[in-house]
């Protein structure tokens, strides 16, 4: 299988996992639309979770296209866009260029945790996409208007047309089924991937090199999430393939991170932070940990951003 995959269709054999996630998700949506018996709580719950994973695949694919063929990569972006009901290419400016450096030309990240400030922390988690979403799309529109981004603009348009066009066709086919069993999972995934920004960075020190992110290091969790729990190393080595993140996390991050930012379980963290504790946690001096460790080569953020912008 590997020789067939490597060098022909997929860049890395592990990308089959990502293809499997997307295929299962689309299969579930199709099942619920066309087979009434599939419209049950298990299919809906699975579709919502897989929609979130579809957004995780968008994230990975927009860092490193999974196919050898550029055309296939662009085509896959449009398929992924339907799954999330937003153009996948929006990740280039919003995530790769702005969020990775926590900064948009001196302004806060479009998905900065500070953009929500309810005293009851659970409300921040629920409300966060209402702010981060519009911030992101208005930022993308400004970014797109600048020179030499016509190709991006075209691809962004294709993704919008496909995502909203196909959803509209399904609405015309069967309005209520599409609203309940397609639009709800699509929006759930899109809103959850925005919430991840809050979950992974709130109460961290974004000015530090190694303590800007919260990691979720459970093995099963990371298998399903294609290693997206290892967030610190992903921020610092954005070009690294997701299959290498666990090892790099152990090697580079663990000696430099405050142990409280390595969470064993996301579920426990969510329950503890948003359900059992009403108040929002304050900033702690987590960056002390990296000052005690040996220094390690890391390009300044401006240079990393410039490299990514040139590659986008």
């Amino acid at each position: 299988m590997t020789p067939f995959v490597r060098g022909r269709l997929l860049k890395h054999p592990a990308e089959l996992r990502q293809l499997g996630i997307v295929a299962t998700y689309l299969g579930l949506l199709g099942g619920m639309v066309f087979v009434p018996a599939c419209r049950n709580v298990f299919f809906l719950g699975a579709a919502c979770y897989l929609s979130f994973l579809n957004a995780v695949v968008i994230h990975n694919h927009l860092h490193q296209g999974i196919f050898e063929s550029r055309r296939l990569n662009m085509l896959f972006r449009t398929v992924l866009s339907f799954g999330a009901l937003y153009p996948a290419s929006a990740n280039i400016p919003s995530h790769n260029l702005v969020h990775h450096h926590f900064d948009d030309e001196g302004q806060p990240d479009w998905a900065a945790p500070e953009s929500v400030d309810f005293r009851w922390n659970l409300l921040n988690l629920i409300h966060f996409p209402n702010v981060a979403g519009p911030n992101t799309f208005s930022g993308v529109s400004r970014w797109k208007a600048v020179a030499n981004r016509t190709e991006f603009g075209r691809q962004y348009l294709y993704e919008n047309v496909f995502a909203f066009g196909l959803t509209l066709v399904l609405f015309v086919h069967d309005f209520w089924t599409t609203l309940f069993f397609v639009a709800i999972p699509q929006l759930y995934g899109a809103r959850c991937i925005l919430r991840i920004n809050l979950i992974q960075h709130d109460a961290c020190d974004i000015s530090s090199d190694w303590n800007h992110s919260r990691n979720f290091v459970g093995r099963v969790f990371n298998w399903i999430m294609c290693n997206n729990g290892y967030h610190t190393i992903h921020h610092n080595r954005a070009g690294m393939h997701w299959t290498e993140l666990a090892e790099a996390h152990a090697r580079e991050v663990v000696p430099r991170i405050d142990p409280s930012l390595d969470e064993p379980s996301m579920v426990k963290y969510l329950l503890r932070t948003y359900l059992f504790t009403p108040a929002r946690p304050g900033l702690r001096r987590v960056a002390e940990a990296e000052r005690r460790a040996d220094p390690i080569a890391l390009l300044p953020r401006e240079l990393r951003r410039a490299e990514l912008e040139a590659a986008s």
Binding site: V41, E105, Q107, P134, V146, A147, W176, F180, A310
Partner: protein, 268 residues
């Protein structure tokens, strides 16, 4: 199997939780604005007699921006704010009623300048300036500049003249009227938002359930759900004080004036 009734209730619950959160966020911003207004204490109108800053300025609003070129046959430069700063340099103001006050540079300053004045300061001064900026604006780093709008001698201003004021204010706008208008806008937004959500809900619950009117109500509810989010962030931006209001300045190449017959004619 999940019935349509159960799923409809779930969809309406999502709609209302979202609606109320966006309303609560707008009310929170309005409360902050009211708190800022109260922090000015008593505000008096007057005329600037003297400013101790550059070129006799009493105060200035400074905005750091980066501009990038749009490219194409008719390029323009799109600016994006990086930072806002308020500076009160100190000076003397003649208040209505005859009294005169000396303003010292406060620790916490708010400088509010009307939008046309800031827009004038941010405008493209000349064709040469545009060409010079365009070269930089095409590069990844962009064209960095600082926009400074000044309040100078002779201008009418509103100042926080109370010694106990928490924030030193110098404004070319009436701050009380400005705050009141923005608060009204926030309340109007919240009222309209809840009203539209209620209308969508009522329509979607119209008998027969899942009939034509009910379907139209649900479709309107989905559109409302998608549009109310950017509306909420737009209200948030509108409620920002004039000193921190986001700007989206744009330079286009100034058109060189064709010499008119009158000016080209020789004086003889």
């Amino acid at each position: 199997m999940l019935s349509r009734e159960v799923m409809g209730a779930l969809a309406l619950a999502i709609l209302w939780v979202n609606t109320l959160l966006i309303a609560a966020a707008a009310l929170k911003r309005a409360a902050e604005l009211a708190r800022l207004g109260r922090g000015f204490g008593a505000v008096a109108k007057g005329t600037v007699l003297r400013g101790d800053g550059p070129a006799g300025a009493l105060a200035a609003l400074e905005i750091e921006q980066v501009g990038r070129s749009s490219g194409g046959a008719n390029p323009h430069i799109l600016f994006h704010d990086r930072a806002h700063a308020c500076r009160v340099f100190g000076g003397r103001v003649a208040l209505e009623g005859g009294a005169e006050v000396d303003l010292a540079p406060p620790e916490d300053a708010e400088v509010w300048i009307d939008a046309p004045t800031v827009a004038k300061a941010a405008g493209c001064p000349s064709e040469a300036a545009f060409d010079a900026a365009c070269g930089e604006a095409r590069k990844a780093r962009g064209f960095a500049r600082s926009v400074s709008a000044f309040i100078v001698a002779g201008q009418e201003v509103f100042v926080a003249a109370e010694s106990g004021a928490r924030t030193g204010l110098v404004s070319t706008l009436d701050p009380r009227a400005w705050v009141a208008k923005r608060m009204s806008l926030a309340y109007a937004f919240v009222g309209a938002e809840v009203l539209v959500a209620a209308a969508c809900t009522a329509a979607s619950l119209q008998a027969p359930l899942f009939g034509t009117v009910s379907t139209a109500g649900a479709a309107a509810g989905l559109v409302f759900f998608l549009l109310v989010q950017p509306a909420g962030t737009s209200v948030r931006d509108t409620l920002r004080p004039p000193s921190r209001a986001p700007r989206h300045d744009q330079w286009t190449r100034p058109v060189a004036r064709e010499p008119s017959h009158e000016t080209s004619r020789s004086p003889s």
